[in-house]
């Protein structure tokens, strides 16, 4: 009799633990497998989740999961309010420094196609260089004071420089032990549970991508970086990927990290690598 009851109670809970077992997304957080294998695993995971969704469609984020939202999106981007920021960025980009040079002098090809390879690892400083920090490095090299991260000038410049890679697939490189370490640190941040809600980025953007959180469809991490900086109706402005990280960290009751902090640079490095192969489209548009 007792035996039977044990069996029954295990069965009773099986429905629950079944759901738990399907959540092998957790294995994607292994920080020992290296970047190439990580990318392969993520592609496989999302392919299993959405067998009919081609890689390039991940550029659409949550719009990929709702035809109605997608048609609203298509209407909205006819006049993307973010284009205003883009032209502000262009004006700043072409304005000469006191020494007569411009930002274009700091980048190969005048900045064309450069952003597709950012963030990148700098073996000299053992640090991650983002589009944002590269812009301030350029200012410094030309005797100008740095811009504040999150300021409208900085955002406009980030937007313009990234847009010079529009249509090109993200192509972030992770090579050598230093770069790999930074990449895995970004991955660890992505998978670490935090905040009052005790959620990790991965909980939402890997395990529950495509599901509804209240009325919002959660986007998969794959593809997220490719449309940032993006215009967001909720912001009524264009802002950066790192600004969005702060928003999601706050949402779970965690303390957000400063813009261009070591944590966020590494997180951006990791997330951007996961978008490799997906075309850049900046400024994006999101609700």
């Amino acid at each position: 009799m007792k035996r039977l009851l044990i069996a029954l109670s295990i069965l009773g809970l099986a429905g629950v633990s079944d759901a738990a077992q399907a959540v092998n997304w957790w294995d994607l957080g292994n920080t020992k497998v290296g970047p190439a294998e990580t990318l392969k695993q993520f592609h496989t995971y999302f392919k299993e989740q959405n067998p009919n969704m081609p890689l390039e469609k991940y550029a659409l984020g949550s719009y990929a999961f709702s035809p109605e939202m997608y048609s609203q999106y298509q209407e909205a981007i006819q006049f993307n309010p973010g284009d205003l920021t883009l032209s502000q960025g262009k004006a700043l980009w072409t304005k000469a420094f006191a020494n007569g040079k411009t930002y274009a002098s700091c980048y190969p090809d005048g900045g064309k196609g450069v952003a597709a390879h950012y963030p990148m690892y700098d073996p000299k400083t053992h640090d991650i260089v983002t589009i944002g920090t590269s812009l301030n490095a350029c200012r410094k090299a030309n005797g100008e004071a740095p811009l504040k991260y999150g300021s409208s000038d900085m955002i406009a410049l980030q937007t313009y420089l990234t847009s010079l890679s529009n249509g090109m697939p993200v192509d972030v490189q992770v090579q050598g032990p230093g770069a790999t370490k930074a990449f895995e640190e970004g991955k660890a941040y992505f998978f670490m549970k935090r905040g009052q809600l005790n959620f990790s980025c991965a909980t939402c953007h890997v395990a529950y991508a495509g599901k509804y959180l209240r009325a919002q469809i959660i986007s998969p991490v794959q593809g997220q970086s490719a449309h940032f900086p993006t215009y967001r109706a909720a912001w009524s402005a264009v802002n950066t990927l790192q600004k969005r990280m702060q928003g999601c960290d706050k949402k779970v009751g965690a303390i957000p990290q400063p813009l261009e902090s070591a944590d966020y640079k590494r997180l951006e490095y990791f997330m951007s690598y996961l978008s490799n192969g997906i075309k850049i489209n900046v400024p994006g548009y999101r609700p």
Partner: protein, 131 residues
Amino acid sequence: MKHRNKQLAQIALLIAGLAGLTLSMEASAADTPTNAGNIQAGKAIAFNRAQGNCLACHALPGGTMAGNVGPALPMKGVTFQQMFQTKEKLVAFLGDPEKLFPYANMPEFGKNKVLTQTQLEQVADYLWSLK
């Protein structure tokens, strides 16, 4: 006999190691009389975005704009009574879901002080009343 079976079931749960939850001696949920007031308060907490916000992830009867990250509640074919046996266990689950299901991606409402013990009990009273 019915009562005895229930006891056995509880023991079985413990043996199976699935309980993991302390059969707390405080048993405060049992002492609180379940009344319409508690159920109503629990429902309000579950629906309130700034409190339980259960609707963010679970459909609940009468709730609008519910998410589907978690299963619709009450779960199809399983009552809360069948699933948790006692209300104390439900309260404990809401307080620290991972303790019962290691992979449960649900906020730890008690452990992380999102809700107070009293609020957790009210939410449990509310869930317990759902058919």
